[in-house]
Structures are given as C-alpha cells and as structure tokens.
C-alpha cells in the first residue's frame, strides 16, 4: 500500500507552520505522529498535496502545570503522557486512557494533539477531554484562540478548526484531589478502536456523588458528552438504580454504526455497560 505523492515541509515555529498551512490552502495537512494520517494515505482514503510536519516545532512539546490547569503541548506523544509522573498524580485518567490506545509502537509516535484534532470518533482522548472540560489552544493566521473540547467536534472528521488553524496545546482543568476517574474501553484486541468506551470523572461527598462528568467514545459521529447520564448519579450513592439510569441515559444518546465490532444495538448496550463499569471504578477510586 503506497501513499500518493505530496510535498513535505518542516517548519520550526508555530508561526511558520500556520503561515504555510494558510498559504498552501485546503490541500495541506499538519503531520503530527502520522499514525492516523499515514494509514489513511496508504489506503488512499486521504491524499493531501502538502504535509506540514510539526515535529521540529519545540514549542509544541511538553507537559506543564499552570495554576489550576495542566497544559499539554500538541506534539506530546501518548508514550510521554503515560510516563509523566505529574499527570499520573493529578490526572490519572489520561494515563489510563493512553494505555488502552493502540500498542506500544503507536503510542511512542502518536500525539495527543493529533488524537484530539483528528476528529475520528474512534479516538479515545476526545471523550476524555469532553469529560474533563478541556480547552484546545488553537493558532491560526489571525492569532490564537481557545475552543472548548465540548464545542470542538462537529461530525466525523469535522471539527471547529478553521482552514489554516492548528491545535497547539490542550488545557485541562485539574479535577480536585480525591476525585475518582476511570476510562472503560471494550475492544476486540489490543490495537482496536472501541466497541464502546466511557470516561468518568466524579467527586464524592458524604458518600454521595457531588459532581460527575461522563464522556463516550466511538458511539456516534463525534465523541459524546453524556450530561444526562452524569446527572442521573449526582446526589446519589451511585447505587444500582442510579447506575442503571445513567447507563440508560448513555444508551439513549448513543447512535453507533453497525460494524464488525457488532450491530448498532449491541454497541449501544455496551455504552451503558461501559458507563456502569466506569462509574463503579471511579467511585472506588474517589476518596
């Protein structure tokens, strides 16, 4: 399988990258880890005329704390996410999610920026970002702007990015310490996208859920923020009845396609099961 021809560019700054992307127009694409884009190009499902490789841009790398937020540069790899001890302590759900993405080789190269900007409903990080209320820092020819993850996804491979714009970093408000979080992913094997997956972040107070947020992966054309499902458990002890309600609410908004992972009806049910399991695990982790 051989990709089509393209011209290759390797800018050193975000400014240059943005300038190139705007000048070269819609036939130009940023190239991050390439582990979503290159497979598509090899299958000739995608044939950009220009690739703007972001790898030489130092300012896109790194993970740092900024007050109540954690900021992750777009070119940070999933491997880096897994290895980062600050993240492991403050945002353990990121590590848990990164570990169920693909396989070691893909994680060494695939970036978190590429994962969230790709717009593939199968990517795991977007639902986690919805769940966490993350904000994407975006650079374009007109300058910088911020887009809430919850407003970013418009359809399969369609995002709020304007032509020429790129994601430079992800800003994540750190949930209070003592929060419980879990990412539950059902897949056929290592290296598979989710049949269904759910991210849960919650806090408990006096044995009851004080806050809860739920995100769903690969259950619609976009990642889903399951507000109703989360509401169903807030104020409860996350007892069986509340969990059942939450699962039903998640199923209600899921509209997966039938594919080789199973018929739509099954995948919908799995949305509920993943939510129930993620809730149970997040609850035991909340302290």
């Amino acid at each position: 399988m051989i990709p089509g021809a393209f011209a290759y560019h390797r800018p050193k700054t975000v400014k240059d990258a943005v300038a190139m992307l705007s000048e070269l127009g819609p036939d130009a694409r940023p190239l991050a880890g390439g582990h979503s884009l290159i497979p598509m190009m090899k299958l000739r499902l995608s044939s950009p005329a220009h690739l703007v490789d972001l790898r030489a841009i130092g300012e896109l790398k790194g993970i740092r704390a900024e007050g109540a937020e954690v900021v992750i540069g777009a070119m940070t790899t999933q491997h880096d996410v897994i290895a980062d001890s600050m993240l492991a302590a403050r945002l353990p759900i990121l590590r848990e999610t990164a570990l169920v993405i693909a396989d070691p080789q893909v994680r060494y190269v695939g970036t978190i920026g590429g994962n969230v900007a790709n717009g593939d409903p199968g990517n795991d990080m977007p639902a986690v970002m919805l769940c966490l209320g993350a904000v994407y820092q975006v650079a374009g020819r007109k300058g910088e702007r911020r887009i809430a993850a919850r407003k970013f996804y418009e359809g399969a491979y369609m995002t709020a990015l304007e032509p020429g714009e790129m994601v430079t970093a992800i800003r994540i408000p750190v949930p209070p310490s003592g929060h419980g979080a879990a990412y539950e992913k059902l897949k056929r094997k290592v290296g598979d996208y989710a049949t269904a997956a759910a991210a849960v972040v919650l806090t408990m107070s006096g044995g009851r859920a004080a806050t809860c947020s739920i995100g769903l992966t690969n259950l619609a054309e976009t990642p889903l923020w399951a507000e109703e499902a989360a509401k169903a458990v807030v104020g409860t002890t996350i007892d069986a009845a509340a969990v059942k309600k939450a699962a039903a609410a998640a199923e209600a908004i899921a509209s997966p396609a039938s594919d080789n992972r199973g018929p739509a009806e099954y995948r919908k049910k799995m949305a509920g099961v993943m939510v129930a399991r993620a809730l149970a695990r997040a609850k035991t982790r909340a302290g």
Binding site: M1, I2, G4, G34, L43, R55, H79, P104, Y108, G191
Partner: protein, 166 residues
C-alpha cells in the same frame, strides 16, 4: 515529486539517500539501504513486522516517511549483534527458547524486545505480553517469545537462565 536528501545514522553508521517525500521508511531501509531484515506484513500499521528502533523508540517503519526520519539514529535487526558477530542476548534467547518459526515477525519482535528491555530490564510475563502487543506472530502463539525475552532479560542481568524450551 522532487526527491529530497535524507541523512541518518543506521546501525551506528551514517546512511543517506535521495527519496520521494512519500517514500516509506521501511522501503528506504529495505530497498535503498538493502536492510531487508524488517518486513512488511500489513497495510494498516497493525503487525509490527516492520518495527525498528528510532531515537530510542520502537516505531513501525511502514507508518513513517523516510523524510520524517531525517537526522534520526536507527537500529534495525541487522545491528543487534555485536560488531564481532556475537549474537545479542535476545537473538540467543529466541533461538534457545524456540521463539520463532517462519522468522517473518522475528526482526520486528527482536527490535521491539530490545527497547522493552532497555526500558524495563526485568519485565513480568504480563509486561512482556503487553510490550509486544504491537507485533503479531502467526506461528508461535507467543508463549516461547515471552520465554525468549525472559531468557534475554536474565542473561543481560547476569542471572542464571531458565532451561531451554520444552
């Protein structure tokens, strides 16, 4: 498309070539540098037969353009043995523990095993299994590959090695 010059270090020696931007690293290694150890087993970046070590990471060289590897330091299976020809503990382990059959996945398994042990010198069985999950093998059922990596880990740590494969 105009060709571009790439320069890298491969198995300790400088290597260079003219490539189309779309030339995949695996094709550059196999066809231009005649390093045919790494193989192509799939189109979708799943099998890991093409795995090489690049700047301290295991990468699937079928999912990377040679231009992206410009300036990189690459180790392929051909560079694993010592310059004098002494096999690396992993190579020895694969043979001792019968960790290969047709040998097609083996170069990728070895380079992946190399990085795994660099990062985690004494992995548990589960860690090995997770660590090689990006490499498919159709012949061995993995059990002896796991043993081979354990063998190498023990050898590299100077510990006694387990008895050979059943």
């Amino acid at each position: 498309m105009a060709k571009v010059q790439v320069t890298m270090k491969v198995n300790g020696a400088p290597a260079e070539g003219l490539v189309e931007p779309r030339t995949l690293l695996i094709h550059f290694l196999r066809e231009q540098l005649n390093l045919t150890g790494a193989h192509v087993g799939c189109d979708t970046s799943h099998c890991g037969a093409c795995t090489v070590d690049l700047d301290g990471r295991s990468v699937k060289s079928c999912t990377m353009f040679a231009v992206q590897a410009d300036g990189a330091d690459i180790l392929t299976v051909e560079g694993l043995a010592a310059p004098g020809g002494t096999l690396h503990a992993l190579q020895e382990g694969f043979r001792e523990m019968h960790g290969l059959q047709c040998g097609f996945c083996t170069p990728g398994m070895l380079t992946r095993g190399y990085r795994l042990l660099e990062e985690n010198p004494r992995p548990s069985e589960d860690e090995i299994r997770a660590g090689i999950a990006g490499n498919l093998c159709r012949c061995t059922g993995y059990q002896n590959i796991v043993k081979a990596i354990q063998y190498a880990a023990a050898r590299l740590a100077g510990a006694p090695v387990k008895e050979a494969a059943e």
